[in-house]
């Protein structure tokens, strides 16, 4: 500790702040790269089985080799390759879900906040119920009805996922409704639609970005839980949650099958949360209670 009192602790706080920005940003960049260039980065095919290569431990354990850095599973598939390809599922599901939920949530939130009245009240009651309903049950129900698939997962997470957006955006729209520039737009005769699109929307983009970033982690966690339960992406596509499930009964002998995909989930979610926190402090510190 070289710090002399306040100066030292300030410097430490600054370094910590930068670390909580750069490391998460790097992890997420890695995730995107892994997802896009998976076929070039992965040393093996994620689905090709090699029964002669079953249950090889990771390279740092006795019996492991650098041919399979993170070992292989019960079917001889390379864990590292599967983790790299698994990034595709996590990334595509979370991007699509966030696109859908933020659009629906923003539209409903602006309408509820700006127009208010009876429509607003009804919308907010629906939002409250949606906020309090466990998404995982809806997802299981949908998986039974429609069968587990990529579409089912996206639909299942989106069906309630718009609610936090609607809640937050409504609050913002409610506040902006009283702003001077909105009152002026009303006086010169702008239609409510024009006011909502041209005046309210541009002013809620910052909180929208913050909450979208903060929800990346939650979406990835939910997707992983669904894949773990078998209500997610069907087994031939490698996904992190399903990989943890594959290894669960072998945890005493081949712990690496479950360990690495779980670490990947944790790392990505942690990074998403940290980046979201950082963005919130930068763009919209008022939202700190989120």
């Amino acid at each position: 500790m070289s710090g002399k009192g306040i100066e030292g602790s300030l410097r430490r706080a600054k370094i910590f702040q930068q670390l909580t920005l750069y490391i998460p940003a790097a992890v997420l960049a890695l995730l995107v790269l892994a997802a896009i260039f998976a076929p070039f980065l992965a040393p093996y095919s994620p689905t090709k089985t090699a029964l002669g290569q079953r249950l090889i431990p990771p390279f740092f354990i006795e019996g492991g080799s650098t041919a399979h850095l993170l070992g292989t599973d019960t079917l001889g598939r390379d864990i590292l390759s599967r983790v790299i390809f698994g990034a595709r599922v996590s990334l595509s599901v979370s991007l699509l879900v966030i696109l859908i939920t933020s659009t629906i949530g923003t539209v409903l939130g602006i309408i509820a906040g700006y127009l208010g009245g009876r429509t607003g009240t009804v919308l907010m009651r629906v939002t409250d119920v949606s906020l309090a309903f466990p998404a995982i049950l809806i997802a299981i129900l949908l998986a039974v009805v429609l069968g587990p698939s990529f579409k089912t997962v996206v639909l299942a997470i989106s069906i309630l996922g718009w609610a936090p957006y609607a809640r937050l955006i409504r609050g913002e729209a409610l506040r902006l409704r009283e702003a001077d520039f909105v009152a002026q737009a009303r006086i010169i005769g702008s239609s409510p639609l024009r006011i909502m699109v041209r005046h309210i929307f541009p002013n809620i983009i910052n909180p929208l970005i913050v909450i979208a970033t903060l929800s990346v982690g939650l979406v990835i966690l939910t997707e992983a839980a669904l894949s773990y339960l078998g209500a997610g992406i069907p087994p031939t596509t490698p996904s992190w949650g399903a990989m943890v499930y594959d290894g669960r009964s072998l945890i005493d002998t081949a712990w690496w099958i479950s360990l690495f995909p779980g670490m990947a989930i944790g790392l990505v979610v942690l990074s998403g949360n940290f980046l979201g926190d950082w963005l919130r402090d930068k763009l919209d510190p008022r939202l700190r209670q989120l």
Binding site: P134, V145, Y228, G230, V244, R248, S258, G262
Partner: protein
């Protein structure tokens, strides 16, 4: 207050109708249930007979009315796989889920109060940072994964606890421990921030000026008022308990409602999943109704705003 309760009750009924309609539509989307019952030797006459028995030959609105009537009689239909009433199956599983959920809620609530208050009163100390770190991990790590690692460490490696199933108190340690670990962060953050707000207020300064011991100021005067804000999120905490239970009951082979719905998912047993979802929907709505009423009782401003 009376008016407020009536309005809220009506809204709850409307929400229930909405959810039952949604589930009914989904049930029809899942296709013809007789397809699942068909065996190679089934004749067309038998299918027609079954359809009549199940009321599938009637129009959709009629079917919905029958569906709702049966609901009121507590009849959720029959499991396609087990051939048993869904109500019985849920009745057997629910107490196990309640035991797991209530114990975890109690444990995490106590810890959240203790750690939240300590973190708020000792800001930026080692303890505060430790609590924050724990919260960050609890919000980012996947529950099923932490549970599997916990089984590996405590059951397989150290042989301290049973790996799964129900039984003595030892069987509770891992499921309750992991579920609490995930409930804790949200609750702890709420208690901490709410405590920080309250500690800033005038009446806390007055209590201190009066010369009350710090222990009394914090644990009695401040905490009591700091608890009102977290109360509004009880509904969300309840949803989190259910989400956690569905996942962790599977990892720990805990014979509760979550495990039941997972088994039904794997077997494509729609009536069971439908029953569980309806039950949870009713519970969620009731919890939120209670919270709303309780909150309006504590804070009269809410009552006037909403009526």
């Amino acid at each position: 207050m009376g008016r407020f309760i009536v309005i809220r009750l009506l809204q709850t009924v409307v929400a229930l109708i909405g959810i039952s309609l949604l589930i009914f539509v989904l049930a029809r989307l899942s296709g013809d249930p007789t397809m699942l019952m068909r065996t190679p030797t089934t004749t067309e006459a038998e299918i027609v007979n079954i359809k009549q028995q199940l009321g599938l030959d009637k129009s959709q609105p009629e079917q919905y009315v029958i569906f709702v009537k049966n609901l009121f009689r507590g009849d959720l239909g029959e499991s396609i796989i087990k051939r048993r009433p869904v109500t019985d199956m849920i009745g057997e599983a629910l107490p196990n889920s309640l035991r797991l959920g209530i114990t975890s809620f109690a444990v995490s609530m106590l810890l959240a109060l203790l750690l939240g208050v300590l973190a708020a009163t000792r800001r930026d100390t080692f303890l505060d940072n430790g609590v924050k770190f724990l919260a960050v991990l609890g919000q980012a790590l996947p529950g099923f994964w932490v549970a599997i690692l916990a089984i590996f460490v405590f059951s397989v490696y150290w042989h301290l606890l049973p790996t799964s199933g129900t039984g003595g108190p030892a069987h509770y340690v891992l499921p309750v421990g992991t579920l609490s670990f995930f409930l804790l962060p949200g609750m702890m953050r709420l208690v901490r921030s709410s405590m920080l707000d309250v500690l800033d207020s005038e009446y806390i300064k007055l209590a201190r000026i009066k010369g009350l011991p710090e222990r009394v100021v914090i644990w009695k005067h401040a905490l009591r008022n700091a608890l009102i804000a977290p109360l509004t999120t009880a509904g969300i905490i309840f949803a989190n308990i259910i989400t956690g239970a569905v996942i962790l009951e599977n990892v720990f082979n805990w014979p509760g409602v979550g495990r039941l719905s997972w088994e039904a998912l794997v077997a494509r047993d729609f009536p069971v999943v439908q029953g569980v979802t309806l039950l949870v929907a009713v519970l969620v709505l009731l919890v939120n109704l209670l919270v709303d009423i309780l909150y309006a009782y504590i804070d009269p401003q809410i009552r006037y705003q909403q009526t």
